[in-house]
């Protein structure tokens, strides 16, 4: 997808750096996301993808650099404030409110993320549950539903917060190909509603197929950026994933 307009990006990371003791988890990462775009974020295990997400959401304060969301510096704000401004994320490890029902889980997002009243929030939550295909289990205790359903529930809760920018941290992990296909369809629908998505995913086919643009992290640094086709052929990316031997067979 070509970006000809010189719009201000909706979300920007400027030279983001985060250390944990001696470990440099994220180092000098710059990136930006346009409104309505799907940005894929890939990289081997431990590359710093989840850390980057946590910096964006305010779970971690970056040691250097800043996060600019809708033209405002948000690094340093607590996660709930960033959420209320319109950015939310799903967790890699599903974190549902286990003893609450599926509907109540989604309600929390609407009540607090979007600041709705109980009545409006309930109505919206029901609609969102229908949309993601969880209408049939809305009264079930969320700890009792299947893994694919829990992944959908995470997405539903994020949607309920009214987020414009949605960060998906391996939302398809543990799903079979058919289930992945369904989630991808869902995500395209979400995008068509005008939402911006940033997707961390290990299932390459999925992330390559859905993203307008990709960023590759390795050892906390951005090593490549481009369209899916460009990335698939990128020497450094192949090196990071498969080792130098495989990369050397290819021209740069």
């Amino acid at each position: 997808m070509k970006k000809s307009k010189i719009d201000k990006p909706i979300l920007e990371g400027k030279h983001l750096t985060k250390n944990f003791g001696a470990l440099v988890a994220v180092h000098g990462v710059d990136f930006s996301v346009e409104q309505g775009e799907i940005l894929g974020l890939i990289g081997p295990n431990g590359a710093g993808k989840s850390t980057l997400f946590n910096i964006l959401m305010g779970v971690y304060v970056p040691d250097e650099g800043e996060v600019v969301f809708k033209g405002r510096t948000v690094s340093g704000l607590p996660p709930h404030k960033i959420c209320r401004m319109g950015m939310a994320k799903t967790s890699q490890i599903v974190q549902s409110f286990k003893e609450m029902t599926v509907l109540e889980n989604v309600l929390v997002g609407g009540l607090h993320g979007k600041n709705l009243r109980l009545r409006e929030a309930t109505q919206e939550a029901e609609e969102i549950l229908e949309f993601v295909g969880l209408g049939r289990v809305k009264g079930a205790i969320s700890g009792s539903i299947t893994v694919p359903d829990r992944r959908r529930l995470e997405l539903a809760r994020v949607l309920a917060t009214g987020a414009e920018v949605i960060l998906l941290d391996e939302n398809m992990a543990g799903l079979n190909p058919a289930e992945v296909e369904e989630v991808l369809k869902l995500l395209m629908e979400v995008r068509n509603q005008g939402k911006t998505l940033v997707v961390v995913e290990h299932i390459m086919q999925a992330v390559m197929g859905i993203s307008d643009r990709l960023i590759v992290l390795n050892y906390g640094e951005k090593i490549a950026e481009g369209t899916p086709a460009e990335i698939a052929d990128h020497r450094k990316v192949i090196e990071a994933y498969l080792g130098e031997k495989h990369a050397s067979h290819r021209p740069n």
């Binding site: 996660p79 709930h80 003893e99 607090h112």
Partner: protein
């Protein structure tokens, strides 16, 4: 609704010529339901186990004692001020401690309650004044009879239960329950977790202070060792656990159950009753890990 007949019965007990013992016992139960209910508002809803709840009870007790004995303030004014003082102190205590997780919060609150006791014990000697009266305690003007405290206890109990009922169905309640289930997920979904916890802590402290004030006027004499007794906190914990943490009627069931149990066994087995009660608590917890109300509701 089974609540209405129970309420009516309870309201006419003191007028119906029952023994003074029964009136006194019921009044005690009401006040325990109130205290356990306060503990439940914070700890039951959020899972933050408060081991210093007696601190606010003690602060309320001393506020009422000082106001009534030294400033000659009327009882109603004194107890309301006691609640407010407790809630106000809960703010600076809650803000740092409610950032701690798990056992650390428990230890911090336990330390707070013990520190309050020590401050009141040693303040006069250290500052060279006569204010808290240290270990000698404070004597209050003689109050009205048991019926008065019966109705006051009943009123506070109803308010605490109604409050819990309201919280559980409110936006605020959803925030607290989300904190209990997965705090970080709650924060990421837009819940101002710290503010929700501090609010619950202050509400809990307000009513504990109020109840401390009421019981002080009933006892007419208090010392720091009496009103900052860590056993009072433990009773609140056990009653809430027995009844069902986080439920509306759990603390009421737990407090009634335990108080009646103590009374029955205390009469027949004056030397061994604590062993028997302890044994029953273990059995109930093993059979009903979610508490009496929590387990019955599931079925």
């Amino acid at each position: 609704m089974t609540l209405l007949p129970i309420t009516i019965c309870l309201l006419i007990v003191p007028l119906a010529g029952f023994s003074g013992y029964l009136v006194r016992l019921l009044a005690m139960i009401f006040l325990w339901v109130g205290k356990a209910g306060c503990w439940n508002i914070l700890s039951g809803m959020t899972g933050y186990i408060d081991f210093g709840a007696v601190g606010y009870y003690g602060i309320g007790s001393y506020a009422t004692a000082l106001l009534m004995s030294k400033a000659h303030a009327p009882f109603l004014v004194s107890v309301l001020v006691s609640g407010l003082v407790s809630a106000l102190i809960a703010l600076p205590i809650g803000l740092p401690t409610l950032r701690l997780r798990g056992a650390y919060f428990g230890i911090a609150t336990l330390a707070f309650a013990e520190a309050m006791k020590q401050i009141i014990l040693e303040f006069d000697k250290t500052a060279g004044v006569r204010f808290f009266e240290g270990p000698h305690g404070i004597t209050l003007p003689i109050g009205p009879g048991n019926e008065f405290f019966y109705y006051f206890g009943f009123g506070v109990m109803v308010v605490v239960i109604a409050m819990t009922y309201w919280i559980r169905r409110s936006k605020f309640g959803y925030a607290l329950r989300a904190v209990r289930e997965a705090e970080q997920a709650a924060e990421l979904a837009g819940v101002d977790t710290l503010s929700a916890k501090v609010k619950a802590y202050m509400i809990s402290a307000f009513f504990l202070g109020l109840i401390g004030g009421i019981e002080t006027y009933w006892l007419t004499y208090i010392t720091p060792h009496m009103v900052f007794d860590v056993l009072i906190t433990i009773q609140m914990v056990v009653m809430s656990l027995l009844g069902g943490m986080g439920t509306v009627f759990g603390p009421a069931v737990g407090a009634s159950f335990l108080t009646v149990l103590y009374e029955l066994f205390h009469r027949d087995f004056p030397y061994t009753y604590t062993i028997l009660v302890g044994f029953i608590i273990v059995v109930v917890v093993l059979l009903m890990p979610k508490g009496i109300v929590g387990t019955l509701r599931k079925r």
